[in-house]
Symmetry: C2
Subunit: 330 residues, 2 copies
DNA sequence: AATTAAAATGTAATTGATTACATTTTTAAG
DNA sequence: CTTAAAAATGTAATCAATTACATTTTAATT
């Protein structure tokens, strides 16, 4: 593999000139530039990025910490990250943590060893105990009370909107299947749900809260439990679409008609939401935009370029499909 | 940030000894090791991986070229890659190509600039025109006639098995919705399908082949077309689950009962396959194993460690669910 | 105690690009 | 044609680790 020295020898110029031809061509005369470029072509020279990164102390690489890459919502966020990273000439290192804090901190430490310039965290957890000054952006599930910039949804408002809608359809006995309780998303959505009930003067029933873990199976089992109550809910709001799809399956297994016997709503609007039967009422989140906004923000943090907005909120949309309908009970 | 020199000064030993304490501790006396480790702790020294990579000419990073990270099958494969990479101390750079050859080759060239040590390609395309000697492994959708090691399914056998099964259910008029025609997977599955028909002495009807692109929508539109024939198929075999789910939706829209009026089968066994209505008959592929086998293989190629098996075939399984059933026509 | 082998440690070169600073060349102005 | 300023180019240090090779120390054997 040819080095910058080989090129400089062939071109008859110094290595500095070759380097400049590549990085700041306007500092090099047109004539020299031509000669150097010819030499680069001749030697098939490709700058050694490892050497460059070493010298410049930048890796042009960022790490994405994601609880599970196979989650369809996260994979869309990552697609957004990746696309923006490409346009900014950053490479994306995948850090699938599977919720393991050890793995998370291993990946996070890549920044300390200059393997990466920054971190995008998709989980509501700070990978650094003591607030370090590592460039980091928190997306989707964001922690409260840290100084990380966040890109998030107004989850309380979204949950309120969904609950309001269900109430508007005549539902009073509305259950909710939550995500894991330690996540900010869960807490916010839960408080939005409660708020909506309160505004409608519906008494909040603690039995109507069922804790899930974002999986199909937890959606199923929660639904099984809920529907065994003497007064089962007439609507179930799930904090993601997978649980809602699980809930639909369980409801059908129990011989219930959707939405006639029970309305079921999700959250995320993953691509399958449109294709399940009945199609799922849900909250649409701009997954790719989350990713691309997070990447742009991280870029600004890393390069101290432009204003850093502490908390960015993206828009959601209530998507009404056929898994929900008017309360036909009472 | 402390360097190895700071540590050596504090410990009162040479940098070589510090380096050895970290990389080959058995070459260092217990006494010295203790002193050095204390100094490392004291200085909070973290080896500069950039410098190490530069010196050793290895990045301990591999690139995954994937047509679309948001595809649920691919994201599982990547999860497998990532997990094995972690255990082998490799980092995974994400190369979402969106089918763009330009992007693909940009990523592939990261190996030439020593940003990565090898490549895992999930698409049936060689990112290097002239067979270079870059470490690369081809997974899932593998090209014929190159010297890349492959990890693949016997796609022809799998399609044959599915078709055999449909035939065993009394179906004779079996349509197939393919993936993009330039992919090896499509070609192999198509030939398996034809073979099965031939073995059963069923005349192959070219109209029963409909080209899709692995998307829900193409599954829908192909189904719409197929079902307009005077003698519409009694079974549709889709080359992935998304298209099958699209086909199910379309069939329902047309008022058809599944599987009574039409049997629909998919391929991949993505997690949603179990949760659609009716649950999807499909071929299960070991997605994570694809990933982990590919990573192990790439490791061996990079480190010239152990035998390189040219083509590795993983097992598939026919999963019979309720989207297919006996032919109730004729 | 002398000799030898083995183990431990140290010295200094090396990796390939970048860049501060020095030097040369070109351009413009008088 | 000078001269000064600006532009272009060159020289050589630098980044932080690894490691070949040299040297010193320790252990083992006689």
């Amino acid at each position: 593999m040819a080095t910058i020295r080989d090129v400089s020898k062939i071109a008859g110029v110094s290595v500095a000139t070759v380097s400049r031809t590549l990085s700041k061509p306007d500092k090099v005369s047109a004539k020299t530039r031509k000669i150097v470029n010819a030499a680069i072509l001749e030697t098939n020279y490709k700058p050694d990025i490892l050497a460059r990164n070493f010298r410049t102390r930048k890796s042009s690489t960022i790490v994405v910490l994601v609880p599970d890459i196979a989650n369809p919502f996260f994979s869309r966020v990552i697609r957004g990250i990746e696309q923006t990273a490409q346009s900014l000439d950053y490479a994306v290192l995948l850090g699938d943590t599977q919720g393991d804090r050890g793995r998370e901190s291993t990946y996070a430490n890549m920044v300390n060893t200059s393997q990466a310039d920054g971190i995008i965290q998709l989980d509501s957890h700070n990978p650094f105990e003591n607030n370090s000054n590592v460039p980091i952006v928190n997306v989707c599930d964001c922690i409260r009370g840290t100084d990380m910039p966040t890109i998030e949804l107004d989850n309380a408002a979204a949950a309120r909107k969904m609950t309001d809608y269900l109430i508007s359809q005549g539902h009073k006995n509305i259950a909710i299947i939550t995500g894991t309780l330690d996540s900010t998303i869960t807490q916010d959505r839960l408080s939005g749900y409660k708020e909506a009930l309160k505004n409608a003067s519906i008494k909040f029933n603690p039995n109507n809260i069922n804790v899930g873990d974002y999986s199909f199976l937890s959606g199923m089992s929660a639904t099984r439990m809920l529907m065994k109550y003497q007064a089962p809910p007439t609507a179930i709001f799930c904090m993601n679409d997978e649980m809602a799809i699980g809930a639909i399956k369980q409801a059908k297994l129990m011989g219930l008609k959707i939405p006639d016997d029970i309305s079921i709503a999700g959250f995320d609007n993953i691509s399958f939401a449109e294709y399940c039967d009945p199609p799922l009422t849900t909250i649409s989140q701009p997954a790719e935009e989350f990713g691309s906004k997070a990447m742009s923000m991280l870029y600004r943090v890393i390069n101290q370029d432009g204003a850093i907005k502490k908390n960015t909120f993206l828009d959601f949309e209530l998507i009404i499909r056929n898994s929900t309908g008017r309360n036909s009970h009472d």
